[in-house]
Symmetry: C2
Subunit: 401 residues, 2 copies
C-alpha cells in the first residue's frame, strides 16, 4: 500500500481523487499495490465530499508523515507550490504535478533535487492536459534528435479562434462564451495573451532540446489582436488561424516563440478545433508525429497526473525513466531578429504598390474591398518583415506555419 | 557496452542500424551505455554495407553468444521469426520487433516466455510504425479503462483511398502508383484485403483490453470493393472513406472488425491522408486522444524499434514497464451479428421506395442519376443491415464511424 497526499483540491485535484477512485482496481493491478489518498491539503473544507475526512490545512502534517511517499501538487500558481514541492522532494517524497508555472520556472532545480534524493518529479499533465506528449518525447522518441515542435497548447484560445471561424463570432463574444462554459478563467489574460502557451513551450524546449527556456524570454503574442476580418481572409486563402507555440533548434541554437499563425489546411494542426490541443513533433528519424486530445479539463488532466503516479509506483521509485534538462543560458538561444518564416500581410495599398514591394513572388494574392492580402513565397526574417511594414500601409500581418 | 544482434537486414533492419549509427551519441546518453551491433543475420551478404563484417548466416552463432543480450527481429513473416524469438527469450535475451504477424499470433506465449526468463519482449513498431501508440496505451493511459480504439492502420490502403479522393484515380491505378512508390508490396493482398490492419487490431485489443484477439477471428473487409462512385458520394455527403480497424469493449465483451468506413469530416481521422496512420483511443477518463504519424517506412519504423531498445537498456532489463495480455477465448468476444453502427446505403430504388424502408429518419439523403444515397439516422445491427439489403436494390453499403 502506497500512501499519498493531494495538494490543492480544485478542479484537477478533485479530478485526481475521482480517477483514483473510479479506476481503483485497474490502477491497483497496474501498480502492483493499492494507492491510498491519506491527506488532501486545501485552505477550504469539503464537508460534502467523500474525502472530507482527509482534508488538512497544515502542510507540515503531510511533510512530517513518513508514510506519505508520493505527493500530487495541483495547487496552481508558483507559491507556495514551489516551496512545498521542494520540501517534499528534500524529504524523499516523489512529486507529480500539472503545474506548468512551477515546472517552466523551477523545473531544472526540482529535477535535480529529485535526483539527489533518489525520488521522481514528473509533470506529464503540465503540457497538453490529458494528451500523452511529454513522456512520448523522452521515451518513445528517445531514438530521435528532435528538430522542432509546433503546438496548439491552449484550449481557451483555440476555442475562441474556432468559434470566430465557424460561427463568425467576435473575439469578445467568443471569450465571454468560453468563460460561460468554464473554459476560460475569470481573468483570461494568461490564456489570451499567450503566457500559458509560452510556459508550455518552455517545458517542451526542456524535453525536446534538453534546455528549459525561461518563459519570460520567449517572444509571445496573444490573440487579442485577431479580428474577424483576419479569420475570414485566412479561410479564403485556405488557412486556419491558430495560436502556435513553436520551438526549433538549428546548429545548437534554440528559437522559441508563441504567436497566432496562419496554418495551411494540409497541416494536421489546422484541424485541431475547439478546446482540443495538438502537438506536432518533428524528429530526425521518425519525421512528423502528432499528439491530439483534450488539453485541459478535470478528468483528462487528472488522467495524466495519475499516469505519472502509476509510473512511479509501478517502477518502485528508482526504475522510472526520468525527464532531464538544464536551464538554457543566453548562448543557447538564436538571435530572434533573424528567425525567418513565411508571412501574411493585409495592406491598404494598391495592387501595383504591393507588386512593387513583393515582386511577382507572392504565393497567394487576394484583393478585396480596399485591401490586398499576400502570402509571401519565401520565408522572411523578423527584420525583413519590419521593413515591409515601413514600406506599405499594413492593416494586419501574421506568421504562416 | 551492450551487444545486440539484428535478425533480418531488409528495409526496417537496415533502418535500425542507420538510426543506431546516426544518433549514436544521443542514444548512448539516453541508455547510459553504448550499443554495439555485433551480428546481423540474413540469408544474403551485403558487401557494400558498412556492416558487411557483422553479417552471419547461422542463427546459432547469435543464440550461443552469451555477450548478446538483446535481439531485434525484423525478418517479417511468422517462420522462422517466431522460433528464433522463442529461442532468444529462452536463452535470456530480450527481443524487440516490428513483426506484427508474430506478435498478433504468438504474442501471449512470447510475453510469458519473456516474463519467465526475466527479459523483455517489446513490439512498439508493430502497430503504427513510428507513431508512439502502444506504450502510450499501456503507460500513459494506464489510469484509464480503454473503451474503444479506431485506427487507420495501413499506409498503403490509406494512400490508395486518398489518391482516389484527391485525384479521382481509379483503385487499380492508385494501387499501381503505390507499388511504384514502394508503399505497396508486389503482392498487395495482405494490405488491400485488410489482413495487415486486422493483425494490428488484434495487438491493440491485447493492449487496450488485455486480450489478444486472433486475427483470423476478426471480421475483415478490405478496400478492393470501393469504387470511385463511393468515394465521390462520400465526399458529397461530407465524409471521407477510410479503412478503419475498430475495437471496443462493452460489458466485458470485445467487438473487433476491419472495414472501410465513411468517416465524418468532424472526426480527426478523416484528415489522416496519404501513407500516414492515425489511431484514436477513447479512455474513460481522458476521452478521445489521437496519435498521428508515419505508419510505415524505413526510418520511422526503425525509430520505434530503437525506442524499445533504449527502453530495455536504460531500464536495465527488469525495470521496464511491460505490456501484458492473455489470449482471448470465444467467451470474450461479442456476438458480431448484433454489432450496431450507422450505415450508408446507395440504392437504385426510387425515393418513395427508400422512404418506405427508412421512414423519414435518414440523416442524409442524396439523390443522383438513377440512385439514392442514405446515411441512417440511428445505428443498425449487422442483422438489420442484411434485412435492408433484402428489401432494396443495394448498389453499395458501408459502415459509418
Amino acid at each position: 500500500m502506497i500512501s499519498m497526499a493531494i495538494l490543492g483540491f480544485g478542479v484537477v485535484g478533485s479530478g485526481c481523487a475521482e480517477v483514483l477512485t473510479q479506476n481503483k482496481d485497474l490502477i491497483c493491478e497496474s501498480c502492483g499495490s493499492e494507492i491510498e489518498i491519506k491527506y488532501i491539503l486545501d485552505l477550504r473544507d469539503f464537508p460534502d465530499s467523500p474525502f472530507a475526512d482527509r482534508v488538512v490545512h497544515d502542510f507540515q502534517v503531510i511533510l512530517n508523515d513518513p508514510e506519505v511517499s508520493l505527493v500530487a501538487e495541483m495547487m496552481g500558481g508558483s507559491h507556495p507550490a514551489y516551496e512545498f514541492t521542494k520540501a517534499c522532494l528534500c524529504a524523499g517524497k516523489s512529486v507529480v504535478t500539472s503545474n506548468k508555472e512551477v515546472v517552466s520556472n523551477f523545473g531544472t532545480e526540482l529535477l535535480q533535487l529529485a535526483e539527489q534524493n533518489g525520488v521522481s518529479y514528473l509533470f506529464e499533465a503540465s503540457v497538453g492536459g490529458g494528451i500523452p506528449v511529454l513522456r512520448s518525447i523522452y521515451v518513445d522518441l528517445a531514438s530521435n534528435r528532435i528538430r522542432s515542435v509546433n503546438g496548439i497548447l491552449n484550449g481557451t484560445t483555440n476555442y475562441i479562434l474556432s468559434s470566430m471561424k465557424e460561427h463568425g463570432t467576435s473575439f469578445d463574444d467568443a471569450l465571454a462564451q468560453a468563460q460561460k462554459l468554464g473554459y476560460a478563467e475569470a481573468n483570461p489574460a494568461a490564456d489570451v495573451q499567450g503566457l500559458d502557451a509560452a510556459r508550455k513551450v518552455a517545458i517542451l524546449c526542456g524535453l525536446c532540446f534538453g534546455k528549459l527556456v525561461c518563459p519570460a524570454s520567449i517572444p509571445t503574442t496573444g490573440i487579442t489582436g485577431i479580428s474577424g476580418k483576419d479569420v475570414e481572409d485566412a479561410a479564403k486563402l485556405g488557412y486556419a488561424i491558430k495560436l502556435i507555440g513553436h520551438a526549433d533548434v538549428k546548429d545548437g541554437k534554440i528559437t522559441a516563440l508563441v504567436s497566432p499563425r496562419m496554418v495551411p489546411l494540409s497541416n494536421p494542426l489546422s484541424g485541431v478545433s475547439d478546446v482540443f490541443n495538438g502537438v506536432l513533433v518533428n524528429g530526425n528519424m521518425v519525421g512528423d508525429v502528432m499528439f491530439y486530445g483534450p488539453g485541459a479539463g478535470k478528468l483528462p488532466t487528472a488522467s495524466a497526473v495519475v499516469a505519472d503516479i502509476i509510473d512511479i509506483v509501478s517502477g518502485k521509485g528508482g526504475a522510472v525513466k526520468k525527464p532531464h534538462f538544464v536551464d538554457a543560458v543566453p548562448e543557447d538561444l538564436a538571435d530572434f531578429s533573424s528567425y525567418a518564416c513565411v508571412r501574411y500581410f493585409r495592406v491598404s495599398n494598391s495592387l501595383s504598390e504591393v507588386s512593387a514591394v513583393f515582386g511577382t513572388d507572392a504565393l497567394h494574392l487576394l484583393t478585396g474591398d480596399g485591401y490586398v492580402s499576400v502570402i509571401t513565397a519565401a520565408p522572411m526574417s523578423e527584420r525583413e518583415a519590419d521593413e515591409i511594414c515601413e514600406k506599405l500601409d499594413v492593416l494586419s500581418t501574421m506568421r504562416v506555419l
